[in-house]
Symmetry: C2
């Protein structure tokens, strides 16, 4: 499985550290490195075919993203999961992305709307396929919605939360079918509200999109 496309784009990741970072992130997000797993440097070295230094650096980077936990003098482990954690991520996402969406819409511009339309189109084309491509476009869409807000830190937080959340999706199983969920419709009406410039409505829709998806996913967690 390879969702490295979910990383920031334009990554001509040259350095060993970058590659290790991207691959480890991938392995953790998809659950191939299960929550709570001890991450032994030596083992990772074999898997990733690189030295200890880049791996330790990559793990350090992932630590601050909450995907890896650092245990002083006793190595690293993949961050644990729990239903409380899941619920918290959901709550925070609603709040922060809601906030970001408002700001994004307050800065509304034709260019932004047009890019949204394109990105939405690219996502729709792939229609809920469980492919990496869809995952990438789906993230693109959600990040683009809030991306017009003038707050890099807020965007960073949202990005981080997105990744933390997607891990639960993967762990619950990509197999799970969002049957009857009409996710595409939800995306569509959010986009429409954004285009219409109805801030309150758009925020409402976005939040309930997350809440519905979250409630749905919750059943599969733990």
């Amino acid at each position: 499985m390879n969702i490295s496309a979910l990383s920031d784009p334009a990554t001509s990741q040259s350095s060993a550290t970058q590659i290790a970072h991207s691959k480890l992130r991938d392995l953790i997000l998809t659950g191939e490195l299960a929550p709570g797993t001890k991450l032994k440097i030596d083992h990772l070295r074999k898997i990733l075919g690189t030295g200890a230094s880049p791996i330790r650096e990559a793990l350090s980077l992932l630590t601050s993203d909450q995907l890896v936990v650092r245990h002083e003098q006793r190595g690293f482990s993949a961050a644990a999961t729990s239903s409380e954690d899941f619920a918290e991520i959901l709550r925070l996402r609603c709040s922060l992305e809601g906030m970001a969406l408002r700001q994004s819409m307050e800065n509304k511009s034709d260019d932004w709307i047009e890019s949204l339309v394109i990105i939405h189109h690219r996502m729709s084309r792939l229609q809920q396929s469980k492919s990496d491509d869809f995952e990438r476009e789906h993230k693109n869409f959600h990040m683009a919605l809030i991306g017009n807000c003038d707050s890099p830190l807020l965007l960073r937080f949202c990005n981080q939360l997105y990744d933390l959340n997607i891990r639960y999706r993967f762990i619950a199983g990509r197999s799970i079918d969002y049957k009857g969920r009409k996710v595409e419709d939800e995306h569509r009406i959010i986009l429409d509200a954004v285009i219409a410039g109805d801030i309150d409505h758009a925020e409402d829709l976005l939040r309930s999109h997350y809440e519905t998806t979250g409630a749905f996913l919750k059943a599969f967690i733990k």
Copy 2:
């Protein structure tokens, strides 16, 4: 200057990486390593008296905290500062800490209130002295206000924002005198509102505390 006390408490930081992390954080927060400065590994090695690996690891940790920027294949530098960045931090702090305070108060408990009273007392005792001790207690107080919320991720964000903000305070100069600012009074009335359980009022007070301080500091930035 040593504000390592601002780090999480109970840090019997044994490993070289931890020490480097703490010291570098310190140097950057206080501005001894000025914003934008290139951070050459070799130079830091001499300063910190340790090898390259712990330093690179520490820098990687600081990267995700937004205090250090990583330039692929060309090293690290201390994060730049700007008035926009300062304004953003301020805005986000108001939103996120406001939110966290509400949640904190909704979970109100006698134990929490008592610990607040004690922490406030410890801070007051040091009364705006520009000492490291005061800085530590001041951070303790603000983190304790929101610390009763049941959201580790939110607390982490707030903690990070606190540090990003305090750097501006240090850079503006510890010398600056908050004359007429009556900061102690503001802390007092916030505490009172929290004790009284008046959520809306407390949030208002906290936010305007930050806004006032921010507006005041702004004059010294850039």
